[in-house]
């Protein structure tokens, strides 16, 4: 194996314009770091309360079984045990969680604990609370559950067979949701085609981002007010609240969500509401604070697996020169045992329907089914990653089968910079970008010119070298109106985020956010934006760490998910800071006796542009309004406490034609990989990697580069090592980091980075949401492997996950995968 030493130094930044934005655009030191490098962060499991009890779940060893009886008497008899919670109590005390889906998924009955039946290995069937962590587990081991095992359904492709095991009686079958998407004129595209490429089956594997901190909570119940305080690392409290409130038959203001530091989220910490409900019930029942620590194995067994998706009977209409006209495919999506955020994945993919390409005619039949596996939920790149992998795979299979150059096919079909803003066949508007230029930068970074020499050199060492590109999109700031394409009854649309900025009595600038950052440095970037507007420095701006729904700085869609902070979060911060700046000027105009137009905010003062000596320190402004306001004009409406709700411009998409703009911004990734395969074993290494990203104007380049590097590491892990694999009985075979191998320091290839900055015309700061990436690395590796193996019988890379043994199988029997593809010449 080749030992990589260091990342190559190349970093290219090309800007279509480089506006001077004060602190914005600079690598200001992160406010979060000082506490985090000293072990002074406050993560959920660090929170202790007097007399708190430790919860431990009793989990199902079966993938599918009826629960015949549960006996907790031995557990409750054990010294130090405070009490238990069972499914039947949950069913009596709560209502099933609200379902997003239209029928049949709408009929799923999902509770905080299994009621009557378990549907995946690890599903919670009971909770035991005790004085210590160890005792809680001892007691959980004493709970006697008798099961009647049922056959397990583990293959989504079999879910709708008449003889398939049935998960939910209420849904009459395993279908959760299906929909036909058809845009343009697909038949004419095929009529016009010179070539039709048919691909029998492509599979996007099941994995997730496995944040290093698992889920958890410390829940307190206030008997007097009937209010719960939920310290948790849930990353979308707004969503958790609307799931929990109705189920618990309580008002949302009775559910106070508090978060400081979160140890990574990546979407995987959105759907912990069932566990949070269980802890709320226990805190009330046992009248004491309840700690819930989710352990690694628990997380792997139950939490937020990424959507596994099959693409069946794909047909692609192409001109002889490689011009892509359109495609047809049948997507079969495996939602797992319950619908916790699904079936939203059934529409989210449509944000990037054509990928980066200009084809106009698309037909996709989406079928989502339920299986005896862990429930899926958002995972970095949620649902778009699956679809983008599919479109990229299609491009490279087309090039492979028609003997065309993948670079040329991309350049021929990419949406052009001068076509931006570009409206996709389904009405989404790509705001800005230049994919061809990004590709050029990537090719330069990876030394594409010398590819042939590299191949020869590798061959001389008995290695097969392959080159691959992944060009993907990171669509950010959802229009929640897209949920109506799943269920027209839903009353969701648009999006929003809140921030407040106030000037305190001693002139302290205090910012509160509605977001729940998990390492994205919101305290830092928010302080930069505020500093630029108020004419102070980021050090002068105190951004409260974390989230507290009692700060009154959150809205229905508050949280940190779906690549939107740079748009919604900073949009809200800018709005609030502008409001405050305006109030300060209005106060200044009264005190300094001039018009607000004569005033500017600079160096911690509001001052006259013409005569900077005539200035009022912000401290004085704070003091006057808060403590020294006698004699101020009655009509001076100034509180120096500005709250702003940012609302992106969205319409409700058309439910009939499934047409409309689903997201506001489109960050782009064009990544390129070189792999070397050992033909004797199938073992391979990524030996060089180039990542070129465009997320519009960059507020904090270092943070953005960190997000790109992290997303790339996730993609490389998913391409080679990471899988949630199940056996035929529905046992998870990778329940821990021993079997679920994630990249370690020695596994990372050298990565060079490049940037193109195409400011978004649709956002106040020219920024685009980013951070999820589009899983470009998964595709780049797939394409590179296909290229490397070309001379060994031209096997087709048909899975997003290619561990060594799959590569070895492709080498040993290339024909097996060749069977999946055929080309019809018209």
């Amino acid at each position: 194996m080749s030992e990589t030493i260091a990342p190559s130094e190349a970093l290219v930044v090309e800007e279509t314009q480089a506006p001077q934005r004060g602190f914005a655009g600079q690598n200001v030191p992160r406010k979060e770091d000082k506490r985090l490098v000293q072990g002074e962060g406050l993560f959920v499991d660090d929170i202790k309360r007097h007399g708190m009890g430790y919860a431990h779940y009793v989990r199902s060893p079966y993938a599918h079984a009826n629960i015949l009886s549960i006996d907790v008497s031995k557990a409750e008899a054990l010294g130090g045990v405070y009490g238990t919670l069972l499914g039947e109590e949950v069913a009596a005390l709560t209502d099933p969680f609200f379902q997003i889906s239209s029928p049949p998924g709408a009929h799923v009955k999902d509770y905080a604990l299994a009621v009557g039946k378990v549907r995946h290995v690890g599903e919670p069937v009971a909770v035991v609370v005790a004085e210590t962590r160890e005792l809680a587990r001892d007691a959980a081991d004493l709970v006697e559950v008798s099961y009647e095992p049922l056959p397990a359904l583990t293959d989504a492709r079999r879910a709708l067979d008449t003889d398939a095991p049935q998960l939910h009686d209420e849904t009459g079958g395993n279908l959760s949701w299906s929909g036909l998407y058809s845009w343009g004129d697909v038949d004419s595209a095929f009529a016009e085609a010179d070539r039709v490429i048919t691909i029998g089956e492509l599979h996007f594997d099941r994995f997730n981002s496995t944040p290093l901190e698992c889920d958890g909570a410390l829940v307190e119940f206030n008997r007097g007010t009937g209010q719960w305080t939920i310290h948790t690392n849930n990353q979308f409290p707004g969503f958790a609240a609307i799931m929990m409130g109705p189920a618990m038959r309580t008002g949302l203001d009775k559910l106070r969500f508090v978060t400081q530091d979160i140890g990574g989220g990546f979407g995987n910490k959105i759907t912990s509401h069932p566990q949070l409900v269980a802890m709320c019930l226990l805190a009330r029942k046992l009248n004491r604070p309840i700690n819930w620590t989710e352990w690694r194995t628990d997380f792997h067994l139950t939490m937020s697996h990424g959507n596994e998706r099959w693409f069946l009977d794909t047909q692609v209409a192409v001109k002889a020169d490689g011009t892509l006209l359109g495609f047809r495919t049948k997507a079969v999506d495996d939602a797992g045992a319950y619908l916790r955020y699904e079936p939203l994945g059934g529409v989210i993919w449509a944000q990037v329907t054509p990928g980066c390409y200009r084809w106009q005619h698309v037909e996709l039949e989406f079928t989502q089914v339920m299986t005896n596996k862990a429930p899926v939920s958002p995972n970095r790149g949620y649902s778009r990653m699956q679809h983008l992998w599919f479109t990229e795979r299609v491009i490279d299979i087309v090039a492979h089968e028609l003997e065309l150059d993948p670079v040329e096919v991309r350049k021929l079909n990419y949406i052009k910079a001068d076509e931006m803003p570009y409206t996709t066949p389904n009405g989404c508007v790509y705001d800005s970008g230049d994919y061809s230029r990004m590709l050029d930068v990537a090719l330069e970074l990876i030394g594409y010119d010398s590819l042939d020499e590299k191949r020869k050199e590798a061959a001389s060492r008995g290695r097969l070298l392959g080159f691959g590109i992944g060009s993907t999109l990171d669509s950010g700031t959802n229009n929640f109106g897209q949920s109506r394409l799943i269920n027209p009854e839903l009353q969701f649309s648009g999006n929003n985020e809140v921030a407040s900025v106030k000037l305190d009595i001693f002139g302290e600038v205090v910012v509160t956010l509605g977001t729940t950052p998990q390492g994205q440095g919101h305290e830092t970037t928010a302080s930069m934006v505020v500093a630029d507007i108020l004419g102070v420095t980021p050090d002068d701006v105190n951004v409260r760490a974390g989230h507290d729904s009692y700060w009154n700085s959150h809205a229905g869609f508050s949280g940190t998910y779906a690549s939107q902070f740079a748009v919604t979060g900073l949009g809200a911060v800018k709005g609030a800071a502008d409001k405050l700046a305006d109030e300060i000027k209005r106060l200044g105009s009264v005190i300094l006796g001039c018009s607000t137009d004569d005033l500017e905010l600079a160096e911690g003062h509001v001052r006259m542009k013409a005569n900077p000596e005539a200035a009022l320190p912000l401290m004085a402004c704070g003091a006057i309004i808060n403590a020294n306001n006698a004699g101020l004009p009655e009509d001076l409406d100034v509180t120096l406490n500005a709250r702003y709700v940012y609302r992106p411009p969205f319409e409700v998409p058309d439910v009939e034609t499934k047409y409309g703009n689903l997201t506001l911004t489109y960050a782009a990734q064009v990544h390129a990989a070189l792999v070397e395969v050992d033909p004797e074993t199938g073992v391979y290494d990524v030996v060089d990697y180039a990542a070129v990203d465009d997320c519009g104007s960059r507020i904090h380049p270092q943070i953005i580069e960190g997000q790109v590097m992290g997303a790339t590491a996730h993609a490389l892990g998913a391409a080679t090592y990471e899988t949630f694999a199940y056996d035929d009985d529905g046992n998870l075979l990778t329940p821990n980091f021993y079997d679920y191998h994630v990249p370690h320091a020695m596994d990372m290839p050298p990565i060079s980075m490049g940037y193109v900055e195409s400011p978004s015309p649709f956002t106040a700061l020219g920024t685009k949401g980013m951070g999820e990436g589009g899983g470009a690395g998964i595709h780049a590796v797939c394409a590179a492997l296909q290229d490397a193996l070309k001379e060994r019988g031209r096997p087709l890379v048909h899975d997003s996950f290619n561990p060594y043994h799959r590569v070895w199988e492709m080498l040993a029997d290339p024909e097996a995968s060749r069977k999946l593809v055929s080309v019809e010449t018209r």
Binding site: M1, H56, R133, E134, A136, R137, D138, D141, W295, E680, T681, V683, Y721, T723, A725, L733, T734, Y738, D739, H741, P743, H744, M746, D747, P803, Y804, H805, W808, E809
Partner: protein
Amino acid sequence: MLLREVEYARPSSVEEAIELLAGHEGARALAGGQTIVNVMKARAASPDVLVDLNRLEGLRSISVSGETLRIGAMATYTQIMASSEVEVSRPILAEVSAQIADVQVRNRGTIGGNICSNDPTNHLPPLLVALDGSMTVRGADGERSVSASDFFLGVYMTAVGEGELLTSVSVPAAANAADGFASVTVGRDGTCLANAAACLAGDVVRIALGCVDAVPVLLTPTSSDESSVRQAVQEADIDPPSDVHASSEYRRHLAEVCAVRAVDKASRRG
């Protein structure tokens, strides 16, 4: 993460350790703990009593006497990597130890723990079989020596009986021995999918395959040329377990590749 209740004792002499092991039902030795503690977290196998050997400095010594390199059972991988005795008398042991897991594990994990746990994916069992090592096992009624090829009885099963303690591991000292080790792992320094150790001494060829059976599989092909090594692996007719990382068939193939590569490394060293 949360262990079942267990009793703990930290003897200050080997004799005391053996008394504790013999005197308590379900007592097990606690060496580095890098395997057993994790198994206890899973609450799968669980001893009733842990006899902590970590204060028995005598069991950590590494020495060369005449033709023999003797490594105390409690010598850590880190110690073995740094040992001048190992370097001059059987460097392959340091080389392979350096491939095990990570710094933290190498700082705690011991040669004794590695071979007594005998997880099929461990590095040292096949290596010691190939090197024709021998293990010194002590019980209430004295010491006995067990050759590596008789030591391993099954997964997590060795010749160390109830109330007995592995005290040291010996291998022939041979500075320029033609030894080689090859493996295919999940990620760099990750879990072995397959591994093989080879030792060439004159016309004697010893190859031990790991990961393919409950115990290392010893092969003694007539020659070290590739064809006879491959033939030896094929004739061994191994039936490796399948798991999520590799099918039985793939492991069988990798075993052959590793054997050839281990022999190749060995011959280039000799």
